[in-house]
Structures are given as C-alpha cells and as structure tokens.
C-alpha cells in the first residue's frame, strides 16, 4: 500500500490548522481509512490535547529521528478510532531538531502501511514549515475570511509553487454565515479572487468547536453540528468525491424559500 502525505499549513498562526488536521483525520478515520497525524509544531505541540491523548505520550518525533525508539513506539493509537494514530511533537526541543530529509524518510516508512499521513505545519515560513512540506504529496492551505490571513496564505502558496509542490488546495475556516450575508465578512468569492486555487473545504464558525477542543473530542465525531458536518464533507472531498459547497447558509427571504420549496 502506498499512502498519501497531506500537509496542512497557513502562514499565519491561529487560523485553525491543528483543528483542521485533527478533524480531517477523524473524518477520514470514520470513513474506514488508516490515518497517521504528525504534529510538526516541535516545541509548541498541542495536537495531542485536541485529540485528548496528551497523557499517553512516551516517545515523540525527535526520539524517532534521533533513534531512541522505533517509529511504532512513538505512534499513539486514538481512543475512539482503532486506525487513527498520532506521532506527537517534542515539547522540549525546537524545529531544528528535525530536517526535511528526516521527515521524508519518516513518511516513506509510514506510507507503506497507512492510507493517509496528515502533517500539521507550524505557523511561519521557517524551518518548521520547510520540514512539514518536504514530504507532502498534497498541500492544503488553511485561511480565515480576513485580509491578513488571506495575505499570508498568498505568501505561502507562492512558496509552495516555488518548491514545485503542485497546486495547493484551500480551506476557508471560520466562515460566519450571518456576517457574510450582512456583507461584513470576506466571502468565498473574495478569497478566491486573490488566491485563485481550488477550494476543498468551507468550515463554518461554530461554538461547538471550542467546546470539543477543550474536551479532547474532535467535532468531526459529531456529524450533526455545522462544523462537524463540514469536516466530514472535507474528508469526502479529499477522497475525491464531488460534494457541493453547502456549508454556508445563504440569505433567503420568504419568497426565495417558497420558490425553493416548489423547485
């Protein structure tokens, strides 16, 4: 089996890279895929917290690279999905403890047994970012519908193009339907106008995400929530299904609703 390595990156911090990575992993896991998440944010790890696995970390990625343990020993199995694993980052080291070559070697090893490797890139354009994109077969750029995040996404997409990593795909996270409909937020079209890359996910803003993050239960397990459904749609699109982008509710007045009812 040859799996696919997908790196999730953004440039700007705080746009939801880790949340997206974890929930995409859960979404793929729920579809029966074997998935390994790698936390690329060495020194500032938090993927383990979002997955609720923080107290199980014995070995981390730096231990694997430096030969203190085997890869399998550092892979932590998820509590809920038997085929979802986490390779945690080291909290006491920094980004320079790992090289892009290490990452490629590691991913080549994992690929032989798993369907997907998801790498959560740290913010920024330095060593950590370079490590994260080196092994990638596909790169997903996460942005928020705000000007500064979109600007940084544009910079990152330029760097990815310079590395000849193929066209990146885009996730717009934290879309607020009410604000979009009021005209107070950048729309999907505004973002696309500047970035001009394929959209693969549209995640609505949802308070439940914060609740689930704090509980260590990724929202993708809860398909009834707005964000949970959006993450499941994202996983389906990553698998190649054509799912329409209906995550953001459009403004409809009464007449529109009646028209829709009658087709």
């Amino acid at each position: 089996m040859t799996g696919k390595t997908i790196t999730i990156t953004s440039g700007k911090g705080g746009v939801g890279k880790t949340t997206v990575t974890v929930n995409l992993a859960v979404g793929l896991g729920l579809r029966g895929k074997k998935v390994v998440c790698i936390d690329g944010d060495i020194g500032l790890r938090n993927m383990d917290v979002i997955l609720g696995l923080e107290n199980r970390i014995v070995y981390d990625i730096v231990d694997v690279v430096e030969g203190r343990c085997r890869l399998k020993q550092a892979m932590i199995r998820d509590k809920r999905l038997p085929d979802l694993f986490l390779v945690p980052a080291s909290q006491t080291r920094d980004k320079n403890s790992v090289t892009p070559e290490d990452m490629i070697r590691l991913c080549d090893e994992i690929k032989t047994e798993y369907d997907y490797i998801l790498i959560d890139s740290p913010a920024g354009i330095e060593q950590g970012f370079k490590n994260a994109i080196a092994p990638a077969d596909q790169i997903i750029v996460v942005t928020n519908p705000e000007v500064s995040a979109v600007r940084d996404a544009d910079r990152i997409i330029g760097l990815i193009e310079a590395e000849e990593k193929g066209p990146a795909s885009l996730i717009i996270n934290r879309m607020n339907s009410a604000m979009v409909n009021r005209g107070d937020m950048l729309t999907q079209d505004d973002v696309n106008e500047l970035l001009a890359i394929d959209l693969i996910g549209l995640i609505p803003e949802d308070e439940n995400v914060i609740v689930s993050t704090n509980k260590g239960t990724p929202i993708a397990f809860e398909g009834k929530t707005k964000a949970g459904r959006a993450f499941q749609n994202l996983a389906a699109r990553v698998e190649g299904e054509a799912i329409p982008f209906n995550e953001i509710e459009e403004k409809m007045n009464f007449l529109d609703k009646v028209r829709k009812l009658f087709g």
Binding site: R151, D152, R155, I157, L159, E161
Partner: protein, 228 residues
C-alpha cells in the same frame, strides 16, 4: 536657422539617443539644438545622448558647454563621436565615450537600458504572489495578477494582463519613457523612472475590455485609456 534645426538627425539606439549635428557655425548649431529639444522636451527628458559631430573640431570649453546644455534638459551626455582627433581628445578628457558601446556584447548586456518600444521582454504566465520579487533589466509582461506584497522591478516597461495590487517599478534605471499597463489597478504603489504614485482606489479603463496605460506626463504619472 529654420533649415539648421531640420538638419539635426535624432535616432534611437540601444544605448540611448544619437544626435547627429550639421556643419556650420557652432553658435547657430547650438541654438538649433536648444530649439529642437524644446520642441519635444518630454521625449528628450531623461535620455542618454550620444552626439555625432562628424569632422567638427570642438574646443574643450565647447564640449563642456554642450554637456552642461544637455544636462540642463535633464539629459545625460554619454559620448561625443567625431573623426576629429582634437574633438576626440577633448571628449576623452571630460570622460565622454568617443565611440558607441559594443552592440549587445556579453559584458555589456547588464548595462543595456531598453526603451519601452523595444521588442525584447520577459514573459511570466502566472499570478505573482505575496513575497515574490521579480527584477529584470528588460521589460516584463505578466499574464496573471500581481498580488499585494509582490514586487515587480523592470528597467523597461511592465505590462500586467490582469490586476495590479502589488508594487511596480518601471524604468528602474531612470527611463521616464517606460510605461505600465494593466487591466485594472487596485491598492498599489507604482513608480516610473523614479516618480512614484500611490493608488488607493480601484481604477480601470472606462472601456472595460481595453487595458489602462500609465505613463509620465509633466513630471507626474497619469492614466490613459486605450480605445479598442
């Protein structure tokens, strides 16, 4: 006098303007030069000039005076071409070339300043994203957008078959005849030949299908519609 001004021949070369002066009394030729430049001051402004005086013997003071005269029109006198050994010696003493630079020699290539009318240009077919900087001596043609945070620098002209939202520098070597063309210009900073203008609202050709051309006119960057 009328005849003398028409005897001045002006040619464009790779290195700048070539001005071939007629025979005759120097004072009269000199005032014919002034008249000629004044008739097209925008064209001559900022140009590098090579003067060909054929077999005229020029004194050092006359050569220096000619150089200062051209300088007063914001032209740079780069060379004085003549068969006369006296003229050649006086020109060299003032640091002027006495022959045209080698044509497109490999060593010289970096120094060539292209005028916007020349046909050599660097073509890019993609969006120029934030953080990307493209710097070329020749003109640049981009098929795509120039996004905020991107920088385009050219010794010649810059043409963007898309939107300009980033920073554009045309005529980076001081060529004020360079132009900047685009389908639309949004929040951006554009300079031509050292003159800069900030655009803070979106402008485009009033005829939506044609591009917008920016050029220098009377020391300022102005937008011009092209009719299609």
């Amino acid at each position: 006098m009328e005849k003398l001004i028409n005897q001045i021949i002006v040619k464009g070369t790779n290195e700048g303007l070539m001005m071939i002066l007629p025979e005759g009394d120097w004072e009269e030729v000199r005032s014919a030069i002034v008249e000629r430049i004044n008739s097209q001051s925008a064209f001559f402004k900022g140009a590098d000039a090579f003067i060909d005086v054929a077999s005229r013997n020029m004194r050092a003071t006359e050569v220096a005076d000619l150089r200062d005269l051209l300088g007063s029109f914001e032209m740079r006198m780069k060379g004085l071409l003549s068969f006369s050994e006296i003229t050649q010696k006086n020109a060299r003493a003032l640091g002027l070339d006495t022959s045209l630079p080698l044509k497109r020699g490999k060593r010289e290539r970096k120094l060539v300043i292209l005028s916007p009318n020349e046909d050599s240009a660097f073509l890019i077919q993609k969006n120029i994203r934030s953080g990307i900087r493209i710097e070329k001596d020749e003109s640049i043609v981009i098929i795509g957008d120039v996004n905020p945070g991107a920088e385009i620098i050219s010794g010649g002209s810059v043409f963007v078959w898309g939107k300009i939202k980033g920073k554009i520098t045309a005529g980076a070597n001081g060529n004020e005849q360079a132009i900047v063309g685009a389908l639309s210009i949004e929040d951006s900073q554009i300079s031509i030949g050292g003159i800069m203008r900030i655009f803070s609202k979106k402008i485009r050709n009033s005829n939506f299908t044609a591009p917008l051309i920016l050029k220098i006119q009377d020391g300022d960057i102005v937008a011009e519609n092209i009719k299609s």
